[in-house]
């Protein structure tokens, strides 16, 4: 928690800015959403760390996917992710987005979310407790510090692959591709 370290603020304001003002847009997918209210209210107060919930993707830079992802919800997740401004970080809650969790053999859920959108960090557990969420946030800070939280750069470079995967899973998408340039866009 090097928030009060003025030298760091002057050295790398963008990293520090990102770290200590993570505005989260949480998409009420799956059962993880019930964990968010205690995180942002009195009991575990996420605002201490600068994490506040915001209403629209445009204003946010942290995307929490809190639970299993059904095929229909994937469409909304991709749309929201693409509408978020550039330095954006995504955190997957629970085992379902990692590998499908207990719905591993269901015909209707997405197994590996990171085939469709890049994920910076995962929180294991079949619905992690608020403390785990805070651990994830601090972990994300270190990633940002080390410059390893570059999921959005990966999305930009490999957009073609991602787009292909998305179209394989969802059939025709009715919004135009986000990046026309970008590698792997064969």
């Amino acid at each position: 928690m090097d928030r009060n370290d003025i030298k760091k603020w002057f050295k790398s304001p963008d990293k520090m800015g990102d770290k200590y003002s993570l505005w989260a847009i949480y998409f009420c997918t799956g059962c993880g959403i019930i964990e968010i209210p205690p995180v942002i209210t009195a009991r575990w107060d996420a605002e201490r760390f600068g994490v506040i919930p915001v209403a629209t993707p445009r204003q946010s830079n942290l995307f929490l996917i809190t639970g299993y992802v059904s095929v229909k919800t994937l469409r909304a997740i991709i749309r929201t992710y693409e509408q978020m401004p550039e330095p954006k970080y995504t955190v997957g809650f629970g085992s379902c987005p990692i590998n499908g969790g207990m719905y591993w053999d269901s015909y209707n859920t997405i197994k590996h979310l990171d085939k469709y959108i890049p994920i910076d960090g995962w929180i294991a557990g079949c619905m992690p407790r608020p403390e785990a969420i805070f651990v994830a946030v601090t972990h994300l800070w270190t990633l940002i510090d080390q410059g390893k939280a570059k999921a959005y750069v990966k999305y930009r470079e490999k957009y073609g692959l991602y787009r292909k995967n998305q179209e394989m899973a969802l059939g025709k998408l009715d919004w135009p591709p986000l990046y026309t340039t970008g590698g792997g866009n064969d």
């Binding site: 993707p57 469409r75 909304a76 929201t80 509408q83 009715d174 919004w175 135009p176």
Partner: protein, 614 residues
């Protein structure tokens, strides 16, 4: 180039356009534009000179034309607005039928207005007033359908107006012997104040009807929304201001300042300012409820004219200068708004505020000029509307009329409400599917719109230019001259320095723009790439324009029924039923007819013999 030749040229120009129209429409169009532009030049160089010419005598009465600073200002406004609307109607009226008739009438209205403004005696004033009235009638009912009803409502009210005017003129002629303004002005102090009040009331009825003051405003909304757009720009820009010219003429040139102030114990001009205040409030909030762009603008014209009359009727120098300056500004930005709405109607075919939207992408210039027009209407700083409203408010507040000032200020917020609705429903929001291939407004439509928006901005930043002229007018009426600089008004009770404000705003804009550039480079995205809670924006179903101020209109709609209009319609029905009854007298039965004759004879004899009346 004396004044009589001026009027003659514009009159023959009108008829010549009609004849040329028979030859070929191209020649007629160019000739109409040429004649209306040509007339501006002599008018322009008449500034300052006070020519006077008796051009004709009618039944022993000399008809005189004279140019005064006031009439010069009005003449310039009239001529520019008309020529702009002629340029605008070149392309707007292209496909329509009977265009010779349209241009003839438009230029006739222009001649009528010029004649009114330049005439120096009441008879020529009346003659040009009538020419203006019935040519306006023919133009209002130009595009058939409901326009006929609007035209009929207009002509009946203007006939009543001109009837009361002719009675006033003739009683003046009988009592004062001559109809020249100068003689009347010298005659008024000598007569009893009761008679002057009677004359003033008669003329105020006429000018009130033409000016659409509170009780007589009912014809304006129909006339404006039915008339062709270029003409409704002239109609609301300058034509209803002929009433204002009449007010100023009678309250200041003829009656003179000190008479007006203490006539009827000072209540007369106070009554007019209350009437003007009422005219500000109700039409503004009725305009908020309108769904048709031009009807909204029509109601807003009534409200803005209320400001002008309020400025004039307060009776202080500042108020007068503010009122006349507001006339000039209102002519500019209201014509601008009507023309831009006309351009939108020309391109999209509709002016219904519920179905338009998103045209900013397709018609950027029209949007930008309409935006400046709306800023002028609201009175944002840096536009000329602000300066004139500032003057009026200062006159009101320092003139101990806090409640009138409150009504005027509150009217401004009403203006903001309906003018933002106008801009939002036409230009902002999602572009509906059916307007996806709308093209830009044609060039002949953009020239007048751009010129007017320049006028609005330039006179907003450097108000000194027009204020200097208006100050000479107010000085000629006996107000003490204001201390006017190029940048605004400097007086001990409060300085308005527009250049100062402009510099501050411009600096702030530059500073914020730099702050804006400091941030990361922005990415432009399409209009339909907007937040829709994860879904893709559905076509045509993602627009909030229908009944834009639903919560507000729910509350104020019941109170804003137009009672005056219903009263007039009821009156018309009464006359119609009464006339049906009188027609029953001629019932076609011979026996009745003969009995009428004999009865009439008997009654006469009985009256004479029995009661010895004679």
């Amino acid at each position: 180039m004396n004044l009589a030749q001026l009027i003659l040229i514009s009159l023959c120009g009108a008829f010549l356009t009609y004849l040329l129209g028979k030859a070929s429409s191209r020649i007629r169009d160019t000739f109409a534009v040429f004649i209306s532009l040509l007339l501006i030049i002599p008018l322009f160089c008449l500034y300052g000179k006070n020519e006077e010419i008796t051009y004709y005598s009618f039944l022993g009465l000399p008809l005189i034309l004279k140019i005064t600073p006031l009439s010069w200002l009005f003449a310039i406004a009239v001529q520019t607005i008309t020529s702009l609307s002629v340029i605008f109607s070149l392309s707007y009226m292209k496909g329509k039928e009977r265009l010779d008739f349209y241009y003839l009438m438009l230029l006739l209205v222009n001649t009528g207005m010029l004649g009114i403004v330049l005439s120096a005696d009441l008879i020529s004033f009346y003659i040009f007033w009538e020419i203006m009235s019935w040519s306006t009638f023919l133009l209002i009912s130009y595009n058939r359908g409901p326009a006929l009803h609007a035209g009929m409502k207009y002509i009946v009210m203007s006939i009543i107006g001109s009837a009361s005017m002719i009675i006033g003129i003739l009683s003046l002629y009988v009592n004062c012997g001559s109809l020249d303004f100068v003689q009347i002005a010298s005659f008024i102090p000598r007569t009893s104040s009761g008679y002057t009040l009677f004359i003033l009331i008669l003329f105020c009825i006429t000018f009130g009807i033409k000016n659409a003051i509170a009780p007589f405003h009912t014809w304006l909304p129909d006339a404006h929304s039915e008339a062709p757009s270029p003409f409704s720009a002239v109609l609301s820009g300058v034509l209803i201001k002929m009433g204002t010219y009449g007010f100023i003429l009678f309250m200041y040139t003829i009656a003179g300042l000190n008479i007006i102030i203490n006539i009827g114990g000072g209540s007369f001009h106070y009554l007019i300012s209350i009437l003007a205040a009422i005219t500000i409030i109700f039409p503004t909030f009725i305009a908020v409820l309108q769904d048709d762009a031009k009807r909204l603008l029509a109601w807003s014209s009534i409200a803005q004219v209320g400001y002008i009359i309020l400025g004039i009727a307060i009776g202080t120098g500042l108020g007068f200068v503010g009122g006349v300056f507001h006339f000039f500004n209102h002519a500019a930005f209201k014509a601008l708004l009507f023309l831009s709405v006309g351009a939108v109607e020309y391109r999209t075919g509709t002016r219904d505020l519920n179905s338009l939207g998103g045209l900013i992408k397709k018609m950027p210039i029209t949007f930008f000029c309409a935006l400046i027009g709306v800023f002028g209407l609201i009175g944002m700083p840096l536009t000329n509307g602000f300066v004139s409203k500032w003057l009026i408010y200062k006159a009101l507040i320092l003139g101990e009329h806090p409640f009138l000032a409150f009504i005027a200020l509150f009217g401004t917020w009403g203006t903001i409400i309906y003018s933002y609705k106008l801009i939002h429903n036409i230009f902002l929001g999602q572009l509906p599917e059916k307007f996806s291939n709308v093209r830009k407004a044609p060039v002949t439509m953009r020239i007048p719109v751009i010129f007017l928006s320049l006028v609005v901005v330039v006179f907003g930043i450097l108000p000194g230019i027009p204020l200097k002229i208006i100050d000479t007018i107010s000085a000629s009426f006996g107000f003490q001259p204001q201390d006017i600089q190029i940048w605004g008004i400097a007086s001990e009770t409060g300085v308005l320095n527009m250049v100062n404000i402009f510099a501050a705003i411009f600096a702030a804009l530059i500073f914020v723009w730099l702050l804006f550039l400091m941030g990361r480079k922005k990415i432009n995205i399409a209009q339909d790439d907007s937040y829709a809670a994860g879904a893709y924006v559905p076509k045509d179903k993602y627009n909030y324009t229908v009944d834009f101020y639903k919560p507000l209109s729910g509350m104020i709609k019941p109170y804003l029924r137009d009672f005056v209009d219903d009263f007039y319609l009821w009156l018309a029905d009464v006359i119609r039923t009464f006339s049906d009854k009188t027609r029953k007298i001629y019932c076609g039965d011979l026996g009745y007819y003969i009995s009428y004759i004999v009865l009439f004879l008997a009654v006469l004899i009985v009256l004479k013999m029995g009661l010895k009346i004679w």
